[in-house]
C-alpha cells in the first residue's frame, strides 16, 4: 500500500522554517541554472534572427567579421553582375554594398566607452532585412549627415537618442529616426548612408556586401563561382550562418560558465536537502516504526521520504523558475569578443528550459533525499518503536 501524498506534504509543512530554508537554497540554485540557460538562449536567438537564411554575405577572404573585411569597388561590381542575384522591379541587382566600422560611444549610465557598429547602407538594405522597422522619426535622407539608431543603442548611449547629435569623421550627425530590428543584432547598430559615411571615414572600399539570390537553392553554385573567380578575393556565407558564427565564442563562454556554476551550486543545494531529510528521518523514528508496524512496506516508506524530498525540490524549483521568468524584462548587453562591438540581448524562457529546469530540481531532490530515505526504509521495526 502506498503512503498518501498529503501525508508527505503535511510533513514538510510541520517543519516550516527548515523547509523554507532548504527550499530557498534550492530556489536560488534553480534560479541561477535557469537564468544562464535563458541568457544563452537569448543570445542564440538574437544572432539567428539577425541573419535571413536567404541572404548571402560577402566578405574579404579570411575575414571573420564585417569590420575586418574590405571589398574594393571593382570587386563589388564584378560580384553585382552575377546572374544568380535577384533583381528588383527596376532591373537593378537586389544587393546592398555596405561599410561597417566601429565607433567608440559613451554609455549613458556608466560614462564608460564601448564600441558600437555603424553601418553605411544602400537603399536595398531595408528590403533585404525585413525585420528592421522604423519606430520613430523618419529615414535618413540620402546625401545628408543623418543617421538612424537601433532601439537598444538609442536607450543606452549618449547622443544616440532621436534629435541628438554624434560627432565623428569631422562632422556632426543628427539622429533622425529610431528603428526596431525585432531583438536581432541590428538593434545594437547605427545606420547611415554608405555614400556619406565612406568619405567621412576616408574609405574607398566597402566592408561587405549583402544580397538576395533569385533562387536560394543556387547558393552552393553561387559560392563556388565567387570563390573560384581569380579576380575576386571574397568568401560567401549565408547571412544566418555568418552572424551565428560570430557569437560562438560568447555563447560557449556563457554555457561553460553556466555549466560549472550549476554543478557547483547543485552540490551545495543537494547537501542542504540531504541534511534536512536526515533530520526529518531522525526526528520521526517512532513514526517510521509505527508505519512499518501498520503494514506499510519498506518500498512505500522509501517512496514517501523520497517524494518528500522531491516535493521540496519541485516547490523550490518552481519558485526559482518564477523568479527567473522575471528576468525576461531585463536586457543584457556586453561586448561580443568576436565582433568587438556592443551586443544587447535578452533572457529568453522557452518550454525546453522550463522542462530542463524542473528535471534538474527533481534530480537534486532525488539525489539529496535518497540516502536518508534509504535509512528510513531500512529501520528495523522493533528498534524504531523502542526509540520513540
Amino acid at each position: 500500500m502506498k503512503i498518501p501524498l498529503s501525508y508527505v506534504a503535511r510533513n514538510l509543512w510541520a517543519r516550516r522554517l527548515t523547509t523554507a530554508l532548504t527550499g530557498a537554497g534550492l530556489a536560488l540554485v534553480v534560479f541561477v541554472f535557469a537564468t544562464v540557460l535563458m541568457l544563452d538562449e537569448g543570445l542564440r536567438n538574437t544572432m539567428v534572427t539577425t541573419g535571413e537564411y536567404d541572404n548571402v554575405v560577402l566578405v574579404r577572404r579570411g575575414a571573420e567579421t564585417e569590420v575586418q573585411s574590405g571589398i574594393d569597388r571593382m570587386q563589388a561590381n564584378i560580384v553585382a553582375s552575377h546572374p544568380a542575384i535577384a533583381r528588383d522591379a527596376a532591373g537593378q541587382p537586389w544587393l546592398s554594398k555596405e561599410t561597417v566600422v566601429l565607433i567608440s560611444l559613451i554609455k549613458r549610465d556608466s560614462d564608460q566607452p564601448s564600441n558600437v557598429i555603424i553601418r553605411g547602407i544602400a537603399p536595398h538594405a531595408l528590403t533585404l532585412r525585413p525585420q528592421v522597422k522604423l519606430t520613430a522619426g523618419r529615414m535618413f535622407h540620402p546625401g545628408a549627415s543623418e543617421i538612424i539608431a537601433g532601439a537598444s543603442i538609442a536607450r543606452r548611449f549618449n547622443g544616440a537618442g532621436i534629435g541628438e547629435k554624434i560627432r565623428f569623421g569631422q562632422r556632426e550627425w543628427t539622429v533622425v529616426g529610431l528603428y526596431d530590428a525585432g531583438n536581432s543584432g541590428f538593434d545594437s547598430e547605427i545606420w547611415g548612408d554608405a555614400d556619406q559615411l565612406m568619405p567621412a571615414f576616408r574609405r574607398n572600399a566597402y566592408s561587405a556586401m549583402v544580397l538576395r539570390l533569385a533562387d536560394s537553392r543556387q547558393f552552393d553554385q553561387f559560392k563556388q563561382d565567387i570563390e573560384n573567380d581569380p579576380r575576386l578575393t571574397i568568401d560567401a556565407k549565408r547571412e544566418q550562418t555568418f552572424y551565428s558564427d560570430q557569437s560562438k565564442a560568447l555563447s560557449t563562454f556563457i554555457s561553460v560558465l553556466g555549466l560549472i556554476l550549476s554543478v557547483i551550486f547543485s552540490i551545495g543545494a543537494m547537501i542542504g536537502a540531504t541534511i534536512t531529510m536526515y533530520a526529518s528521518v531522525a526526528n520521526r523514528v517512532g513514526e517510521i516504526g509505527t508505519l512499518s508496524a501498520l503494514g506499510f512496506q519498506r518500498r512505500s516508506i522509501l517512496a514517501a521520504f523520497l517524494s518528500e524530498s522531491m516535493l521540496l525540490a519541485v516547490v523550490g524549483g518552481a519558485l526559482g523558475l518564477a523568479c527567473a521568468s522575471m528576468m525576461q524584462f531585463i536586457s543584457f548587453s556586453t561586448t561580443n569578443f568576436q565582433s568587438f562591438s556592443e551586443l544587447a540581448f535578452g533572457f529568453r524562457l522557452t518550454a525546453a528550459i522550463i522542462v530542463k529546469t524542473l528535471l534538474f530540481s527533481l534530480a537534486m531532490g532525488g539525489i539529496g533525499g535518497f540516502l536518508p530515505a534509504l535509512r528510513a526504509a531500512r529501520m528495523p521495526i522493533v528498534d524504531a518503536l523502542r526509540a520513540a
Binding site: 530554508l21 566600422v101 564600441n115 565623428f168 543584457f332 561586448t335
Partner: protein, 385 residues
C-alpha cells in the same frame, strides 16, 4: 578550555550532518574564491600596467589607424621619453579556436618600453635582426609547444594572406602577474607586404605606446599629445595604459558583474544550509540548554557554545576550501592557457573567503542563540526535541 572541548564534542555528535555541512562550506568557499579569481583574471591586464606608459589611439575607435608620421610628433612632446607602436594582427593559427594575442610592433623602441618582458640578450638580438622573426611568451610557448627556430604559420584576418613567422626568442615575465601569452613580431614585415598588395593601407599604426618621464605628468602629456592632433584627419585619444586596459574590462562589465553577483549568491545559499544545520541542532538540544541553565550557566555561555560550534564548522570548511583552491586554480590556469593569460589566487581573495566564512558562521548562530537564551527552563526541560 573545557568549553572548547564541549564545543568540539557537540559538533561531532552528528558526524554525518557535520560532515555534510562542512562539505557544503568547502564547496561554497571554494567556488567563491574561484569566481573571484576569474574576475581578477579579467582585471589582470590593467593591474600589470605601468603608470609611466600612455596609449595613443584614434579618437573615433580602435579600428581606425593613425599615420606613421605621428611618431616623430609625439616624440617631440615635452616629457615623452620613448615612442613605440603596435598593430593588432589577429591571425588564425591553424584553427580559429587557437586564439592568442598577436601584435606587430616597432621592434626595439617597443621592447624598451616593456622591461617586464625578460628576453635573453642573444635572443633579443636575433629577433631584432630577423624581419620575419617573432618572440612568444613562456605561457604561449608551453601551450603550443613553440621552440626557438620553429615556424608559426598564421592566416591573416585583418591583413589577408598567409604569414610565416620564425620564433627567435621566448620571453618570461618579470612578475608572476606579467602576461606571457602574446606573440610579438615586426611591424615592418606587415607593412612591406601591405605596401605591395594594398598600398592605401600602408604606413598605418594601430596604437602608439608612449613612455613618459614622470607618472604625475600623465594627464598633462596626454592632453598635449591630443592637442597636437586636434582637428586633423586622425584625431587622437591618449590615456594611461591602465585606463586603456580598463576600457576593455568595462566593455564586458555585464559579465563581470554577473560573476560577482553569483559569487555572493553561492555564499547566501550555503549560509541557508548552515543556518538550517544550526537551527536543527539547537532544536534537538533545547532540553540540554534548559539543563545547563538550571545548573546555573548564563546566557553568555549558551551563546558561546552555539557560536563556537558554528564558527568551528565555518572555519574548518573555509580552511579546506582555501587549501584546494590553490592547486585547482593552478590547474585551471594551465587548461585555459591563453584565454586568461594571468590566473592567480590573490591575497585579497583569501581574505574575502575567510571573512565570508566568519559571516556565514556568525549569521547561522544568531537565530538558535536567541532561541536558546530565551527558553524558559521548565519549557526546555519538557521539550523532547
Amino acid at each position: 578550555m573545557y568549553s572548547l572541548r564541549l564545543i568540539f564534542k557537540n559538533a561531532m555528535r552528528h558526524k554525518l550532518r557535520t560532515g555534510l555541512t562542512v562539505l557544503g562550506l568547502v564547496v561554497a568557499i571554494f567556488s567563491f574564491g574561484l569566481l573571484q579569481t576569474v574576475v581578477d583574471a579579467w582585471y589582470a591586464g590593467s593591474e600589470g600596467a605601468s603608470n609611466t606608459t600612455l596609449i595613443t589611439r584614434n579618437k573615433t575607435s580602435l579600428v581606425f589607424p593613425l599615420p606613421l608620421s605621428y611618431q616623430a610628433r609625439i616624440r617631440a612632446v615635452p616629457g615623452v621619453t620613448g615612442v613605440g607602436y603596435a598593430n593588432w594582427f589577429q591571425g588564425v593559427y591553424k584553427d580559429p579556436k587557437n586564439f592568442f594575442a598577436q601584435f606587430a610592433v616597432s621592434g626595439e623602441s617597443y621592447l624598451n618600453i616593456y622591461p617586464d618582458y625578460l628576453l635573453p640578450a642573444e635572443e633579443r638580438a636575433a629577433f631584432l635582426h630577423d624581419r620575419k622573426g617573432c618572440i612568444v611568451g613562456r605561457k604561449l610557448a608551453d601551450q603550443y609547444g613553440f621552440k626557438v627556430g620553429d615556424t608559426i604559420p598564421l592566416k591573416g584576418t585583418i591583413y589577408p594572406g598567409n604569414w610565416e613567422l620564425v620564433v627567435r626568442g621566448i620571453y618570461d615575465g618579470r612578475q608572476s602577474s606579467t602576461n606571457t601569452a602574446t606573440l610579438f613580431f615586426h611591424w615592418d614585415y606587415v607593412n612591406e607586404t601591405v605596401k605591395k598588395i594594398m598600398p592605401r593601407r600602408a604606413n598605418q599604426i594601430g596604437v602608439y605606446v608612449v613612455q613618459i618621464n614622470q607618472p604625475e605628468n600623465a594627464a598633462s602629456i596626454s592632453a598635449a599629445v591630443d592637442k597636437e592632433f586636434a582637428n586633423s584627419l586622425a584625431e587622437t585619444l591618449t590615456e594611461t595604459e591602465k585606463a586603456f586596459q580598463l576600457g576593455f574590462v568595462s566593455m564586458s562589465e555585464a559579465i563581470v558583474m554577473a560573476i560577482r553577483v553569483v559569487s555572493f549568491v553561492v555564499i547566501i545559499i550555503i549560509a541557508a544550509v548552515m543556518a538550517n544545520t544550526m537551527a536543527m541542532s539547537a532544536r534537538e538540544r533545547l532540553g540540554e540548554y534548559a539543563t545547563l541553565k538550571a545548573l546555573g550557566f548564563g546566557p553568555a555561555f549558551l551563546a558561546l557554545m552555539i557560536f563556537g560550534e558554528s564558527m568551528l564548522l565555518a572555519l574548518v570548511g573555509a580552511a579546506i576550501g582555501i587549501a584546494i583552491l590553490f592547486p585547482f586554480a593552478a590547474f585551471l590556469g594551465k587548461v585555459m592557457g591563453t584565454m586568461f593569460p594571468v590566473f592567480q589566487v590573490s591575497q585579497l581573495t583569501v581574505l574575502l573567503q575567510v571573512v565570508a566564512a566568519l559571516t556565514i558562521g556568525a549569521m547561522a548562530a544568531i537565530a538558535p542563540t536567541i532561541r536558546a537564551v530565551r527558553i524558559n527552563i521548565v519549557d526546555g526541560l519538557r521539550s523532547i526535541g
